[in-house]
Symmetry: C2
Subunit: 351 residues, 2 copies
């Protein structure tokens, strides 16, 4: 511990002024109901000791912390292993820094720790929260709602009517998936398979829906469940080849799982794109450029999504004039409930 | 913003009870100096609205937040690009989770944002701080000291007498460097070069000192400054080969810069280890195993360093009985000022 410059405490001020802790607290919070001579004594002690009131005290008055919590609903091991999160955090960090707001990243070991995250959010330490990578059945959205802090979600939340009045930023997952599959159809492919993402996330469900929009009536064995990781992509690709040895194209729900699928295809001697065309989703660099062959994919601007989430949250806070608990109804009426960013096809060699 | 379940505010309680905000605040903080009937009215309003006092208010009393800040004195881009930080955070996260303490990672775009980090630390949002990757001339250590929160540093801080009473966890950088260079000498190498780390960090300075301990009187052109990154290792290796074409070994200050050096040696047709033996520092996996050839290196247990930092901080907080500002002197007297972990040689193919 650094012991060299202890911050003077409320207790030290109370001792110096010869008053109770509660009296100091009242003076610091505005002085209501404290006799004039006591107020003077406390103020003198505050000055002599160079006491800086704890922000916990100050924030009772101002209710502004200039800090925004970011919660990624994944264990910290995945947050650091999947470049998607680093990119989204980059966009958030740039936007918050431009507004001199501190990025407070709340890391966990997994879902069991989300109650603690809820307590921190409710604890008056941040002005708002950015929450992404939600999973169905996760108590986090409910904890966030109960914490009562203004929140913007990354990705469409999956509860109730699909939004529950929440503000979110998302990519056009369903439209992007349709474009991916139409591209494969345009190449003359007919036995098109799909490796899904983690189906407890709306992004994976929406991409599967987009696949089905184009491939209405596709045989169920052409769909294999993945989990957005390279290892999950490998497992799904092996299952697909066992079930449908004659498949001629694969749409993978993201670039990481496409990279796993490519490894399996190469190991089994299938040429890409000649025998099997492969298309991903994300345009995650450098992954998509460094696969063999380089990956054709659907681009979404992940950094911009992060930036936009932060911008919507800060704008909402400004509108409330620094009192996040007031004006809820009018803010809800004005605010868009979801901002959906477009996607674009990026052609490389794999399809 | 999630608008569905606003948390009842202090103002709402005041309006319901027909009293002032200050009165509610006083009742919530213990009720000193408030008339009995008013206390009753406020308590009733609190119950009726289901008001949960803001932790900002509660923490004025308990002074415990069950949250620990982690500050990496690097821009967020480096935090996510260098696996060293993910490993150290993994150790910290496991230890904090085991104690149900929230890991609060404060990210920045760079040094210009450190004043804001200091304000957050001083703001009463965390019980303590873990700070690593300090650089000389960085205002952060001083800001942390002024914030007055108990702090444990990762790596020996470089100010004043070298410790300034700070508690830190470090590896035996100098001893490990000596072992690396002695290993090269033992292989019969005589023209041994060194690629340093960022020399505004004590870990880099200590490894350079270890190199000099063994190679007393080494020609200055055998030392090239790097910055702990692969690109810095490449640049330093090129400079070394221009200046000393006859060098027969390189000790790189970490595995990432060794990986850059290996790429340059291969590109220029130097065989490793036949022509030039290469040794790194860290035993960073998978980097050290995936270089060509696999890297001989000095292992430090980075995850354990993170775990130990967290353990020392939590132990210090427990000793203070939840009042971090009391008992400073006795804690300082008991606490070790630095814990230095041993390193070990890991032999692979490169030396």
């Amino acid at each position: 511990m650094t012991e060299s410059a202890p911050r003077p405490t409320l207790e030290a001020v109370a001792a110096r002024a010869g008053v109770s802790r509660a009296t100091v607290s009242r003076v610091v919070n505005g002085g209501d109901g404290v006799r004039r001579p006591l107020v003077e004594r406390v103020r003198r002690a505050v000055e002599e000791l160079g006491y800086v009131p704890n922000q916990a005290a100050r924030s009772l008055v101002t209710r502004r912390h200039d800090a925004i919590a970011v919660v990624v609903a994944e264990p910290e091991t995945r947050v650091f292993a999947d470049p998607f999160f680093a990119l989204q955090l980059r966009g958030i960090s740039k936007e918050l820094t431009a507004h001199d707001s501190q990025l407070v990243l709340l890391l966990t070991e997994g879902r069991a720790d989300h109650a603690r995250v809820g307590r921190y959010l409710a604890g008056g330490h941040v002005d708002g929260a950015l929450v992404f990578s939600l999973h169905l059945e996760d108590p986090l959205p409910e904890l966030v709602r109960r914490a009562g802090v203004p929140t913007v979600f990354g990705g469409r939340p999956g509860w109730g009517d699909g939004t529950g009045g929440a503000v979110y930023v998302d990519s056009d997952n369903r439209g992007g998936a349709r474009e991916a599959v139409r591209h494969l159809v345009g190449l003359g492919r007919r036995r098109i398979a799909h490796i899904t993402g983690a189906l407890d996330q709306t992004s994976a469900v929406d991409r599967l829906d987009g696949f089905r929009d184009v491939m209405a009536g596709a045989a169920p064995e052409l769909i294999a469940e993945g989990d957005f990781t390279p290892a999950g992509g490998e497992r799904a690709m092996r299952r697909l080849l066992e079930r449908c040895p004659d498949l001629d194209a694969v749409f993978a729900a993201n670039d990481l799982s496409a990279s796993g699928a490519l490894r399996v295809l190469r190991a089994l001697g299938r040429r890409v794109p000649e025998d099997v065309a492969v298309i991903g989703f994300d345009d995650m660099l450098p992954v998509a450029e460094q696969t063999d062959p380089p990956l054709t994919t659907i681009r979404q601007d992940i950094e911009e999504m992060g930036r936009l989430m932060a911008r919507l949250l800060l704008r909402g806070l400004d509108r409330r004039g620094g009192t996040p608990d007031s004006g809820e109804a009018s803010a809800a009426a004005e605010a868009p409930s979801g901002v959906v960013l477009p996607t674009t096809l990026v052609r490389r060699a794999s399809a």
